[in-house]
Amino acid sequence: MAKTWARIVLLAMASFWIIWPLSTMVEEGFRIDLGPLYSGRGQSFVGKFFQGQGGIRPNPIVFLKLLTVEAFPRLVLNSSVIAALSIGISLAVGIPAAYALARYKFSGKALFTSFILILRTISPFALIVPFFIAYGQLGLFDTYLGMALVYLVINIPIVTLMLRGFFSDIPKSIYEAASTSGASEFTILRKVALPLIIPGLIATVIFAFVATWNEFTFAQFLSGISVKTVSRAVWTGFGESIESFRVLDFDELNAGGTLAILPALVLSLLIKKYMARGLSLGTTR
């Protein structure tokens, strides 16, 4: 019994460590700031940036400003369109590839898997320079299509490796039964295998959406004003300004950060069961 209590206390401490920063972010979005309050001077004394007035009275003004005056809904639209486009293409190329990896042995299989994994492990900067040059020439800089294409680098490995696991979870006997009834391989994929993995497919799409929603590096270099994404705005600010070297408004960054993590958090907890699989390249089940 004593051991259970010790366990609960330690877990409560771990939970506090997670909740404390997150609640601080929400509070500062509501203009609650303990720092200046304690110092009693209206500004904090560490860090190189001016820190505004503190207080303990919640004030939703920053959230309201983000949602009505500034372009937050537009950013959500941008992020969503880019993710939808990119995930759509990834599914189109990833579903058959995942099916082939799960179902067949063929020479070059390990090589193909390595190709997919190179996308997963490559430094974004190895791709940013050529993409930056090519997009300038092709007119894809700061367009939905351009961003969707570069996010294939993230989404193709996610889709292929996650779905591969779901396809191999289907018992072999089902594939064999379908095969002996004379269905073509393409029909088996479409009519037998895909309907069986619908929950897994949904989890994969959500997982890829959260990954795309959270991505920052490619967005910083390859999007301009018109397709700026939510996670880029968390850094650069939410107004119409493009670059980061303006006066940083921490209340705004925190309010925006809160709004940015909300959908990711809700969606991720929905697919909690599949999270390990997604994050471990489909090695855990």
Partner: protein, 293 residues
């Protein structure tokens, strides 16, 4: 029959070629040329950029900083993940609540963590509490390397320690029940059970090996948190003690006026060698877990 798998992977191969291999080939070409605002027409210069890089102190500086960052994050995440996994193992009241809380960080974007763990959001609360609230007259100075490396590593561990927990839990749940029962019969203490049964199972698991390799390479490429911190502590010059390879490439991109694209490509190509070796390593490590079902 034999042609079918290739038909299925053709679209993916084309996509990987277009968004991966073509840009990499272009990068290799750029790294062998001089290409910047100063010389807008790429001119072939052979391996000159690589020679320059090997003589450049900022490169070795970045290698050192990246090593500290990778070792720090992965070790902390492993230890915290193991600790959390042991706490979460088994059935007890309130497990689901704790699970939801502990998994929440995995949904959070690293750039948000960079802002959230900044001196102006978390540290100033802590500092005023320390300085005025408790009246100690002490405060944590973010300009100390120990403090900023610590905060950066904590911010990264905040997001990724739960992943290690998740994977270790999955491994522990696969340990046969008999092993624990046998330990019980022999009167092993819970620490002995951990040392003889649980820990070896975790350490020798190919799944954990895959995840650790993945964490090392992800930490190696990590950009957002060191990037934000280079602003928080005002380290905007090249070769600062916070320049991981990613931050170094950002600075060459944005802070140098001549935009030395071929030099950035050169660094990226050196890193590419590491990425490819890791990809091959993961393929070898993970094949057993993928096929074994």
């Amino acid at each position: 029959m034999s042609r079918i798998p290739y038909l299925f992977i053709v679209p993916a191969v084309i996509a990987v070629f277009g968004i991966g291999f073509l840009p990499i080939a272009h990068s290799i070409y750029l790294s062998l040329t001089s290409f910047s605002v100063l010389s807008p027409e790429p001119q072939f210069v052979g391996i000159q950029n690589y020679v320059m890089l090997l003589r450049d102190p900022i490169f070795y500086n970045a290698a050192g900083v990246t090593t500290i960052w990778v070792v720090g994050t992965v070790v902390i995440e492993f230890v915290v993940g193991l600790f959390l996994a042991l706490l979460m193992f088994g059935e007890f009241k309130g497990r689901r609540v704790f699970e939801n809380i502990l998994l929440a960080p995995l949904a959070i974007s690293p750039i948000v963590m960079g802002v959230l763990f900044s001196p102006n959001v978390l540290l100033d609360d802590l500092n005023t509490l320390l300085f005025y609230g408790l009246g100690t007259g002490l405060f944590i100075d973010v300009n100390q390397p120990f403090v900023y490396y610590g905060m950066m590593i904590l911010a990264d561990a905040f997001v990724w320690a739960p992943l290690l927990m998740l994977v270790m839990l999955a491994v522990m749940q696969n340990i046969p029940k008999e092993n624990f029962e046998a330990a019980n019969v022999y009167g092993a203490s819970s620490f002995q059970t951990f040392r003889r049964v649980t820990f070896p199972a975790i350490i020798y698991s190919p799944v954990l090996a895959t995840i650790l390799v993945l964490r090392v390479i992800d930490s190696f490429r990590a950009y957002e948190i060191p990037f934000t911190w280079s602003f928080w502590i005002g380290q905007e010059r090249l070769g600062s003690p916070i320049d991981t390879f990613s931050v170094l490439m950002f600075k060459l991109f944005f802070l140098r006026t001549d935009l030395p694209l071929s030099y950035v490509a050169t660094i990226a190509m050196v890193l590419l060698v590491i990425s490819i070796s890791v990809a091959l390593l993961i393929t070898r490590l993970a094949t057993k877990s993928w096929e074994g079902s």
